[in-house]
């Protein structure tokens, strides 16, 4: 029984380790879905902007820095949104 189970486990493991080479024909990396990463970046930038606004409203960020960071984050966000518009999938 132990021998049979060990044999079965070995065969299953060997098969699963070799299988990707049989089914995927050694192609180059499929890039991760770009839109997912872009949505991720969008959410992060929106959250950073929300935090910045709260920090400014509660007096933790000076007006000068608020303008500077907001412009920087805004530029990054518009770049992400443009890319998303061009690659809706």
């Amino acid at each position: 029984m132990t021998l049979f189970a060990s044999l079965l486990l070995t065969i299953a493991i060997t098969w699963l380790l070799v299988r990707p080479h049989l089914s995927q024909c050694n192609t180059a990396f499929v890039p991760a879905p770009a839109s997912e990463q872009l949505h991720d970046s969008k959410s992060r930038l929106v959250q950073l902007l929300k935090d910045l606004e709260l920090d400014f409203a509660t007096g933790k960020v000076s007006a000068e820095e608020h303008t500077q960071i907001k412009a920087q984050l805004g530029a990054e966000l518009s770049k992400v949104l443009n890319t998303l518009d061009n690659n809706p999938a």
Partner: protein, 666 residues
């Protein structure tokens, strides 16, 4: 069955090895087929390690005493839950559990890695598999838990588990710690993977934050459970003794906490890249170092496993980790340069950096205390130990500084704060805290450290309250028609991570007040009573009603029945039953403490012994002020961490769903 368990472990070892090579090859050649292999190898390592763990659990459940490890750590009298938890009661099983939990983290990451950058993930999985390979090497070749008893006669019953470990906290505390340690391996894998792949944007940091938070939360819960176990089981009235094994889990907790703070600076300001790499590596290194401490026999501890000869393997592995990191960080040094410098010492960046330095100082002081006996023996030939007074003398002032930084750090502006804004922000909380400190002096609390600790803890809670009220005012101004409740809800939902962090800080402040009270105002008394006698202590009166005996198959016990009453009017509060047990198998006495938990204080009593005639019974009592608030503070910390973690988890789930839909479309 045991052969099958060991065979599975060998297969897991091979899979981890395949995972390393296929991961490196996939990272270098960027071939999808090899990436498929490393993912499969990671899952298969989990499967095979899981099978081995299940086999050992089953062996414990059915009391298979042909297995030496099962015979050593369990017996038939034990409850089935303790029989299974005996799996991590010894060195061999605990290493297997570690390997299994690490493989679960690795499998989860392999399942999620479709959402992570493909050029990074083969390297990350390769590093994770190398960590698995190390622990599996230890389990397979050095601490194999599937060894047979090589004798004609198989004992009908086992040795049993130390009675102190037969406790619900011991069922949950070690797995929680291991879950923390193994989850914190994932950020380490991301870190080294990013260094190998040259993928050193801020993304790897952001991707690992969720793992670090979850690992940190497990570690926090594990440490709290361990403290509670020590409190209710060991009978010395405390929860933390700076024992080397306690310190082994505390040191990575400190560096992980430092990382959780400094990661915010990298995300927002692209600073401290090199610092963060080293914090992550140090955290992982300290988990391995902790394992070395508890299993090598270099330090003496009540919790340490038996002296073994596996210590050198851990040291070798630590050497490999740090050498690899030094080489990689040197190679990638130009990409790890900070984009900006700290512009003012009066800024959030500077204070977060100072907070990191304090965390590392506490970690260093703790390590110094732990290693001092070893170092002193190496240098002078005499082993000298440092005790609780050393740790308290060094770490208490540092902790107080941390509480101060915890109060002001999150409220101060990024980049540069002005003195006028500081005065505006902190004037109210500071004056109120000062007022409370003055009141405390009037009620008799005049010692410097307790007064400072109470003042700073209150100050940190008040700054959070003040910050929330300011944010609420802004929210109300933007939405004058909304109700207070809906505004608060909106604010919390929009900035859940930020307020989750503040909740954690409040939990820390509550715990700090409790720890201060326990350290400064604990009452401790040893005394003996005869039947009918009463002792007055504090605001309590304690009467010994009777002493009885009880006996079962495992132990015999002396049980005292005592009435706890108010000292003033002698009105009864509760009846307490402290016990002293003598276990036949281990031939050791243990105490079962009796505890009356209250919001003001815990009344804690342990039966220390009896005289020859059995007439006089000696006891040890502790009155621990505000003790229950330590556990409540721990709950608040966990709640805050869940508050931060949940949105990220939800976001990841949404990403997974979207990815799955895309797969289906393809």
């Amino acid at each position: 069955m045991a052969e099958f368990g060991h065979f599975s472990l060998c297969l897991a070892w091979i899979c981890a090895l395949v995972g390393i090579f296929s991961g490196v090859y996939a990272g270098m050649t960027r071939r999808e087929s090899w990436f498929g292999t490393v993912r499969n190898a990671t899952w298969l390592t989990t499967l095979a390690t899981g099978i081995a763990t299940a086999v050992l659990c089953y062996g414990f459940y059915v009391s298979d005493f042909t297995n030496q490890y099962i015979w050593q750590h369990s017996n038939r009298d034990m409850h089935w839950a303790y029989r299974i938890s005996a799996l991590w009661g010894g060195m061999d099983g605990s290493m297997l559990l570690w390997a299994f939990m690490l493989s679960v983290s690795a499998a989860l990451l392999a399942a999620l890695c479709g959402n992570y950058p493909r050029q990074l993930m083969p390297w990350v999985l390769a590093v994770l598999n190398s960590s698995q390979l190390f622990f599996l090497t230890v389990v397979v070749f050095l601490t194999n838990p599937f060894r047979y008893i090589r004798a004609e006669f198989i004992p009908p019953d086992g040795n049993g588990l130390n009675p102190l470990l037969q406790n619900p906290y011991m069922v949950s505390h070690p797995p929680m710690l291991y879950a923390g340690f193994t989850t914190l391996t994932v950020p380490f894998a991301f870190c080294l993977g990013a260094l190998f792949a040259g993928y050193l944007s801020n993304e790897w940091i952001r991707l690992t934050r969720l793992w670090t938070l979850i690992g940190w939360c497990f570690l926090t819960v594990g440490i709290i459970l361990g403290g509670h176990w020590a409190y209710v089981e060991l009978g010395w009235g405390g929860f933390w003794a700076w024992d080397p094994v306690e310190n082994a889990s505390f040191m990575p907790w400190l560096t992980a906490t430092a990382f959780l703070h400094s990661v915010m600076i990298q995300e927002r300001k692209e600073m401290l890249k090199m610092w963060n790499v080293w914090l992550v590596v140090l955290t992982y290194g300290l988990t391995v170092f902790g394992t070395f401490l508890t299993r090598s026999g270099v330090v003496q501890s009540v919790h340490a496993f038996a002296n073994t000869d596996v210590g050198w393997v851990f040291l070798l592995y630590l050497g490999i980790i740090f050498t690899t990191t030094i080489i990689l960080t040197w190679w990638r040094r130009s990409e790890l340069r900070s984009a900006r410098a700290i512009e003012s010492l009066l800024s959030r960046e500077a204070l977060f950096l100072l907070n990191n330095v304090v965390f590392l100082s506490i970690c260093f002081a703790t390590m110094w205390g732990v290693m001092f006996p070893v170092l002193s023996e190496a240098v002078t030939g005499n082993k000298q130990t440092v005790g609780v007074p050393f740790f308290n003398a060094v770490n208490v002032p540092l902790f107080l500084l941390l509480i101060f930084l915890m109060a002001i750090g999150p409220m101060i502006a990024w980049r540069k704060a002005s003195w006028s804004s500081l005065v505006r922000t902190f004037r109210g909380p500071f004056l109120l805290s000062l007022l409370v400190c003055v009141l405390l002096v009037f009620v008799g609390i005049v010692d410097f450290y307790p007064l400072l600790a109470y003042g700073l803890s209150l100050f940190s809670v008040l700054t959070v309250a003040y910050e929330f009220s300011r944010a609420m005012r802004v929210q109300r101004a933007a939405n004058p028609q909304g109700s207070m409740l809906s505004d608060a809800n909106l604010l919390l939902r929009r900035h859940r991570a930020r307020y989750g962090g503040y909740v954690v800080h409040i939990g820390v402040a509550i715990a700090a007040v409790s720890i201060t009270s326990a350290m400064a105002f604990k009452t401790e008394k040893e005394f003996s009573l005869s039947k009918g006698e009463t002792l007055e202590v504090g605001r309590f009166a304690l009467t010994l009603n009777e002493v009885g005996g009880t006996r079962n198959d495992s132990y015999e016990a002396a049980v005292a029945t005592m009435t706890l009453a108010h000292r003033k009017d002698r009105s009864p509060i509760t009846t307490l039953y402290p016990e002293r047990r003598f276990y036949f198998r281990t031939q050791e006495p243990t105490t079962e403490v009796a505890l009356r938990i209250g919001l003001r204080e815990d009344f804690y009593i342990a039966l220390a012994g009896m005289d020859e005639s059995g007439e006089r019974v000696s006891f040890k009592i502790f009155i621990n002020p505000l003790q229950v608030w330590l556990w409540f503070g721990g709950l608040v910390i966990v709640f805050g961490t869940v508050m931060i973690t949940l949105p990220e988890l939800r976001f990841k789930r949404a990403m997974l769903g979207a990815f799955a839909r895309q797969e289906i479309r393809q």
